[in-house]
Symmetry: D2
Subunit: 159 residues, 4 copies
C-alpha cells in the first residue's frame, strides 16, 4: 500500500555550458525519466536546465533545489522547485536526495558536490568531469552513463 | 511551453497527534491535490503523515522535507522525500516552498514555522493552532480552510 | 587543562528599535560580559547592535552570526563575525549556541527564535517581548534579567 | 572606535590523523594566534584539535563550528564552540568565516571544503592535501604556510 520509492539521480555540473553538454545532460535525464526514475538538480541554468528539460521530455519529474529564496529562479522545465535560501549549502541537499550522482564538467561548485557525494558513500559517475580519487566512475557516453546510474540506484534501493 | 507552476500548500503541525487531527490534515491535503495543488510538509508522522496521505488519496503529490539524512525516515505516503540533514532548519524550507501555510495544533516547532511564514509575508491559516499576531487567519473547518488556502495560493501565483 | 566553558547568553530582538531598547540590550550584555559570560546575537543592527556594544563595554566578547555571506555586514561592536549565507536559518544557530535566551521586542523573526529556544528546552527570558506559552520567563528590568540569565546559564553548565 | 577586524584563518583536514599532522596543524595555529589572527575550524578531533590546541598555546582564540547540536562535542581546546545541527553543511560556514584556508590531508570532507573555498575565491594553502586545480598554493613547511596565510589574510582585509 505504501508508495514505492523511485530511484533518484542527481545531475550536477556547470551553470553555464555549451549546447552539447546541455543536450548530454538532457539525454541522461530523459533516460532516467523514461525508466521510472526521478531527477534532482540545482534548478538553475546550464547542466541543470538540460537535466530538467530531459526529465520533462521523458515524461518524468525533476526536483530543483534552489540556492535562493524565490522559486521563480528555477528554470522553466523544473517540475517542483524548492527554494531554500541556503546558498551553496543547497548542493548538499541535491546530493542527499540522490541514490547516484552523474557529474558533468563544472568548476569548484561541481567539485564540492562530487566530494560530498563521495563522502556520503554514493556512487559518482563522471562524464568528463573532475577526476578525483579512485571512487569515481568515469564514462564518456551519456546513455551508457544513464543506464549505469539507474542500475546502481536500483541496487541502492534494494539494499 | 514552460511547465505551469502549481499552487503549493504547506501543512504543518504536531508530529504526534490524535486520529481526528490526522484526518483533518488529510482532508485539507486531499482537497489541495484534487484541485491541482502540491502539498509540502516535514515528511514525518502525525499531521505530516495525514497531509501526505491526503495528497495521495487525492491523486496528487506530496513533498516531504526531512530533518535527517535518511529518506527512509519519510512516512509511507510521501511522494518525494528530501532528506536534508539540516535538523530543525528544514522547517524553513517547508515554508519557503509554499504559497500558503495551513497550521494544525503543534508545539514550539509549529510555532516557529508559523513565525517564519509570517515573517516571509505568506498567508497562514490556523486550524485551532497558535494564535499569535493579527495576521493569522483562524478557521475551524478543514474543507473551508483548504478552499481558502487554494484561493490565496492562486492569488499569490498570479501576482 | 581544558578551557573552561563560559556561559553563553543569546540576545535577540528587532533589527530596528528605539535607543531605549538598544540601551537595555546593552545593559544585559554588559552584565553578561562583566560576569564572565559570552554574548551571541544575529550580528546586525538594533537590539543586536546594543548587545554587541554592551559586551564590548563590559570588556567581553560577542559572537555575531550573520545571515549573509559578508562579514562586513556585522555591526562595528561584534568581536567575532560569522557570515553563514544561510539567511533566516542562522537564527537557529544563535539559539543553539546559547545556554539562555534573552528576548527583546521584535517581530516574527524574534518570535521564531523564541519558539526554537523553547523547542530546544532552553530558558527564555522575555523583556516585554512575545508572551507565548507558560515556559517564558517575563521580566521588566534588564539588570535583573541579566542576573537571572547568568544564574540559569551557570545551572545549565553544571548539569 | 570600532573593533578592528582580525585576520581569520581556517584550518581544515582529517578528523583522524597522525600525531605529526596534528602537531603541524598546531604549529600553523600557534603562529596565527601569536600574530593576532583568529583560527576557525570544525571543532572536532584530529587536525581540528591540533588547530585549536595551537591557538590556545599561542594565547589566541579558536572558533569551532560543530556539525551537531551539542557544544560538548567540541575538543577541549576550542575557545568558542558553535553547535549548528547542520551536519556537513557546517563546513561551508568554516570556509565563509575565513580569509584564508590552510588544508591538511583529509578525505572527501576536506576536499569539499577546499572546493568551497576555491569557489568563494579564497586563497587555499595545501600542506600535502588535495591538489585540485591550479589555484591551490602548495607548501610543505607549516611555519612558512602560516606566514603565507597571515600575509594573504592581511591583504584580503585591506582590500
Amino acid at each position: 500500500m505504501a508508495i514505492e520509492r523511485k530511484p533518484v539521480i542527481a545531475i550536477v555540473g556547470a551553470g553555464k555550458c555549451s549546447k552539447k553538454l546541455r543536450d548530454n545532460a538532457a539525454i541522461v535525464a530523459r533516460y532516467v525519466a523514461k525508466n521510472g526514475g526521478v531527477v534532482v538538480c540545482g534548478g538553475l541554468e546550464g547542466i541543470m536546465e538540460g537535466a530538467a528539460r530531459g526529465a520533462w521530455e521523458g515524461g518524468g519529474v525533476s526536483i530543483g533545489i534552489l540556492p535562493g529564496e524565490d522559486r521563480n529562479d528555477a528554470n522553466k522545465f523544473i517540475t517542483y522547485a524548492i527554494p531554500t535560501g541556503f546558498g551553496e549549502a543547497r548542493n548538499i541537499m541535491v546530493i542527499r536526495m540522490a541514490d547516484v550522482v552523474v557529474a558533468f564538467p563544472g568548476k569548484y561548485g561541481t567539485l564540492s558536490e562530487m566530494a560530498f557525494a563521495l563522502k556520503a558513500g554514493k556512487p559518482v559517475i563522471s562524464i568528463s568531469a573532475w577526476k578525483v580519487g579512485e571512487d569515481i566512475i568515469s564514462m564518456d557516453d551519456p546513455t551508457e552513463a544513464a543506464e549505469k546510474a539507474m542500475e546502481l540506484a536500483q541496487a541502492a534501493l534494494e539494499e
